[in-house]
């Protein structure tokens, strides 16, 4: 076993840290307050190569491994999880999906500008009536010979407005239930697509989330990813990888909150001494540190398995469930350690706490991760 990071992994971690601490921090509070999309940061991170980190350089990607991706996601998320979810959706759902399962035409036309970050993508699986239960897809893609005709509504779509490319999951054969689900890649500008209003969210407020309506949208046949009926397997496989990204996001929220709590506890005085000298606070920090370290190890283990080409679905479910749950705990404790100051926006920890909550919900709730994990035990 070897816990050492390579020189390149350290360099990428440092690059992400530098960008986050130098640039993202500048306007993160303002973007959170006004729910404005971080367009300039998306552009800058694209230039640095963070929008398609793991894609083959042949298709404009960064050619880096999943471990590097975890390191980058942690560093970005310490400062700004709204930004890091944009990075995560583009990298591990959209680019990964096209890189792994797209054909040459789709890679040339859709993957290349997504991997370079010139464009960004969105992943459209959830529906008003299909969240945890992704099998009950109501969006229909009807075979019309040379194209499919799509009708239906997708819900909670991250990057819905800012994306140029959509990966869409829809039902092509309702009789076959989830075996009749198919995946597509398409332009967001296709006629017949319209967006619901920007969701006014509790956290991750500067990422744009909308519902997306499809009314007689024509999708060319060459935009189908894999065969008809492959869509559900496709979505589940992609989410296995995506969960590593969200797990690393949750990890970053927790480790960012821990860093702030440690700094504050050393500085803040009560009863004549730094609050860190009160053991009740020191022990809180200790508990938080153990949880963060565990979450980091789970994330890196899942990434390591993926990089080795081994099965990583259960490992990524464990990483996602644990990291998300402890992110909620650790950010809450960080607010507690900050006392009243923790409850105001200037000190960031209340925002980290609001953001942490989402990591327990999207890309599979904590309950759903436990279903995945327990099924693997009881098989």
């Amino acid at each position: 076993m070897n816990f050492e990071l390579t020189e390149e992994q350290l360099m990428i971690q440092q690059a992400a840290r530098d960008y986050a601490q130098r640039e993202l921090i500048q306007d993160v509070l303002e973007r959170d307050a006004n729910a404005t999309f971080p367009a300039k940061h998306v552009k800058a991170l694209a230039e640095l190569g963070f929008m398609g980190m793991m894609v083959d350089p042949k298709y404009n990607g960064g050619g880096m491994d999943t471990i590097s991706y975890v390191l980058a996601m942690e560093e970005l998320s310490k400062i700004d999880a709204s930004m890091s979810v944009i990075v995560s959706v583009n990298n591990s759902l959209v680019c990964y999906g096209l890189d792994k399962y797209g054909d040459e035409f789709q890679k040339e036309n859709f993957l290349k500008p997504l991997a370079s970050g010139e464009k960004i993508g969105a992943f459209l699986l959830s529906e008003p009536e299909a969240g945890s239960d992704a099998t009950s897809q109501r969006t229909i893609a009807e075979d019309k010979g040379d194209h499919y005709l799509v009708n239906g509504t997708k819900n909670w779509i991250t990057n819905a407005n800012s994306a140029s490319t959509y990966i869409l999951i829809a039902q092509t054969d309702p009789a076959k239930k989830h075996k009749g689900i198919t995946a597509f890649v398409l332009d967001k500008n296709s006629p017949g697509i319209s967006l619901g209003p920007h969701e006014d969210k509790m956290g991750m407020r500067s990422s744009d989330t909308h519902s997306v309506m499809f009314t007689d949208v024509k999708v060319p046949k060459e935009n189908r990813i894999g065969e008809e009926g492959f869509g559900f397997t496709f979505a589940m496989k992609i989410l296995e990888g995506g969960r590593i990204g969200i797990a690393a996001q949750a990890l970053g929220l927790a480790s960012g909150a821990l860093e702030r709590a440690v700094a504050y506890a050393k500085e803040r005085k009560a009863f004549g001494t730094a609050i860190a000298n009160h053991q009740a606070i020191a022990f809180k920090l200790s508990d938080m540190a153990v949880k963060v370290e565990n979450a980091r190890n789970l994330c890196l283990k899942a990434a390591w398995l993926k990089d080795k080409g081994e099965a990583f679905g259960v490992a990524s479910a464990m990483a996602k469930q644990y990291a998300a749950d402890i992110a909620m705990e650790v950010t809450t404790e960080a607010v507690q350690i900050h006392g009243g100051y923790g409850y105001v926006k200037e000190y960031h920890v209340e925002r980290l706490m609001r953001e942490a909550k989402l990591t327990q919900i999207y890309e599979g709730t904590s309950e759903i991760q436990k279903i995945v994990i327990s099924r693997s035990l009881l098989r």
């Binding site: 020189e7 360099m11 690059a15 960008y19 640095l48 980190m53 960064g62």
Partner: protein, 247 residues
């Protein structure tokens, strides 16, 4: 024109510095190493110039005197965009030693950039010594650098203003941080390209040390800061008189 940027390998500026047992050096256990901040600004400016005058500047090379442990720092310089790195394989114990080592490779570069100091021992000596050893002109405290035809436009900060010089090459410029606005973060593409860029290791020449560190000392610890309410001048005067004993 070929540019050489001297790269010091120094502890990260947030490191809590501890000394070794006999107090003649820094305890390097657990230290994270970075490019000396002044050198990083110099490298950034060199890259900007190369991009702005692609025809006139053929390459940017970085050089360091150090053991193999300094190679990650050199590879970061390659990732940021340098074309080639040279490491002279010897421990960089004092400025004269370092300058004599660099002198063996530096002569062929029309422009050499050295940081005005290094954030480890802040010696501020290598640049000047190297210019002397190479017998070439040097300008210190450079805060601006540009190309003008085949000459260099150099800005120096002087007391109360700036001095603008037109310099011929070859030149050694000893630079301040203001030389570039913001240091660059290496991009993924650069990190990947650094894998295949040359990192040449050269044997040291016979040289000697001009100095040796007898003892390092930490500054006295700062006393805690006391806040006095803005309308309480009386208390401030009392504190200055009775506690700080400066009045």
């Amino acid at each position: 024109m070929k540019i050489l940027v001297l790269i010091g390998n120094v502890p990260d500026t947030t490191t809590k510095i501890k000394f070794n047992a006999d107090q003649t050096g820094i305890d390097t256990a657990g230290v994270q190493w970075i490019i000396n901040p002044w050198d990083e600004f110099a490298l950034t400016r060199a890259m900007e110039l190369k991009e702005a005058y692609a025809g006139a500047i053929s390459s940017v090379v970085v050089a360091n005197v150090g053991s193999s442990q300094t190679e990650p720092t050199l590879r970061k310089a390659l990732a940021v965009g340098a074309d080639k790195a040279i490491r002279i394989d010897a421990e960089a114990k004092d400025a004269f030693f370092v300058a004599t080592q660099l002198a063996q490779i530096a002569g062929e570069y029309e422009l050499i950039l050295a940081g005005i100091e290094a954030s480890d021992y802040n010696g501020s000596a290598v640049g000047g010594m190297l210019a002397e050893l190479l017998d070439r002109s040097s300008v210190s405290a450079v805060t601006g650098l540009d190309l003008k035809d085949d000459k260099l436009l150099v800005t120096r900060e002087i007391d109360g203003g700036n001095q603008h010089l037109l310099c011929t090459t070859p030149l050694l410029a000893i630079v301040q941080k203001g030389i570039a606005k913001e240091v660059r973060i290496p991009a993924m593409r650069g990190i990947m390209m650094a894998r295949t860029k040359p990192l040449e290791v050269i044997a040291p020449v016979e040289s000697s040390y001009a100095t040796s560190i007898q003892k390092l000392e930490l500054p006295p610890t700062k006393a805690a800061c006391k806040m006095v309410a803005e309308d309480n001048v009386k208390e401030l005067v009392r504190l200055l008189k009775e506690e700080a004993k400066v009045l």
